[in-house]
């Protein structure tokens, strides 16, 4: 029969924390891989409309966004509630789009320039007038591949 020896008072052994950091690092890498850096902060409020037939955009690096929506709380006092266009980090007029398209094309390799998808991130309450103007400018700038950003819903 087993006899248990009693060896006086025993300390609780210290936990080995060495592998803890490995686990956290694994978490870190996991998140780094599945997420993307937020490119620029939005100055406009955008709630994209819902749709069922959405496609995912393949290459992140070949997507340039054009944001259209009401200015957010910080700017609404200054600019009023009319929807505005945001390109990169600033409010723009639709006449700036041709320039924006050129700049975005310059950033890419020559091979990829025709492959850029122009993602229109537009708030659902915006009227089509401004969107049409933007689309006309895109056509002039020969940026034909557009994507209307929507969120996916399953129900039809």
């Amino acid at each position: 029969m087993g006899r248990f020896k009693k060896e006086g008072k025993k300390d609780v052994p210290e936990l080995n924390m060495g592998s803890m950091s490995d686990i956290i690092f694994m978490f870190l890498f996991f998140f780094m891989v599945i997420t993307t850096m937020r490119e620029s902060s939005l100055f406009v409020v955008i709630k994209v409309p819902k749709a069922t037939e959405v496609q995912k955009l393949e290459k992140k690096a070949l997507v340039s966004s054009i944001n259209i929506g009401k200015p957010n709380q910080n700017y609404i006092k200054k600019l009023g509630p009319e929807p505005r266009i945001q390109l990169n980090d600033q409010f723009s007029e639709f006449t700036d789009i041709i320039e924006f398209v050129e700049a975005e094309k310059q950033r890419r390799n020559e091979v990829d320039r025709t492959m850029i998808t122009w993602s229109l991130k537009v708030d659902e309450k915006v009227k089509m007038g401004i969107v049409t103007d933007v689309k006309q400018e895109l056509r002039k700038a020969s940026a034909f591949k557009v994507n209307y950003a929507t969120s996916k819903v399953i129900t039809k």
């Binding site: 803890m20 978490f27 870190l28 997420t35 409309p49 037939e53 969107v131 049409t132 557009v146 994507n147």
Partner: protein
Amino acid sequence: MAKKTPGLNTGSMADISFLLLTFFLLTSSINTDQGIQRRLPPPLQENQEVPKINQRNVLRILVNMHDQLLVNGEVLSDVRQLRSITKEFIENPTNDPHRSEKQAKYIDDLGENAMVSKGVVSLQNDRGTSYAMYIAVQNQLTMAFNELRDEYSQQRFGKPYEKISENQKKGVQKIYPISISEAEPSNYGGKK
């Protein structure tokens, strides 16, 4: 006398990596870009002739500033009906003379002839139409074309459209191209 090297205290390492983790969680976003993809037509040339299309081959969809729909002259109360209307228009199973014509065309990706509809969906919206409505219409149209492709692929290959090979997909895309023509914008609603 050999001295034992003292063990490094790695407890704080976890804290540091936790900090990094939270930093990345805050500065990144998971949502990937997704949406409805379209190709815009090249801008109109000065003296470009507008191709003549037979009336029966055009499905005219008008959306006004109150988000109301007019399809081939008839008011449509629910946008969800648009899908079946588009499908019937393109497919024209009964060879109705008021719906689109079909033409046999050689599809080289499939190596065979197929009946291709000449139908074009013409979409015109007002400057006052809401973007949500525009997307709803686009979504219905996309759904119609996707279903047509899917049905064809089921019937021809016994597999849904998603499962067939890239080459077959190209062929099916040629049989059912997304033929949506967005009219040059007009300003019926008056004020810009």
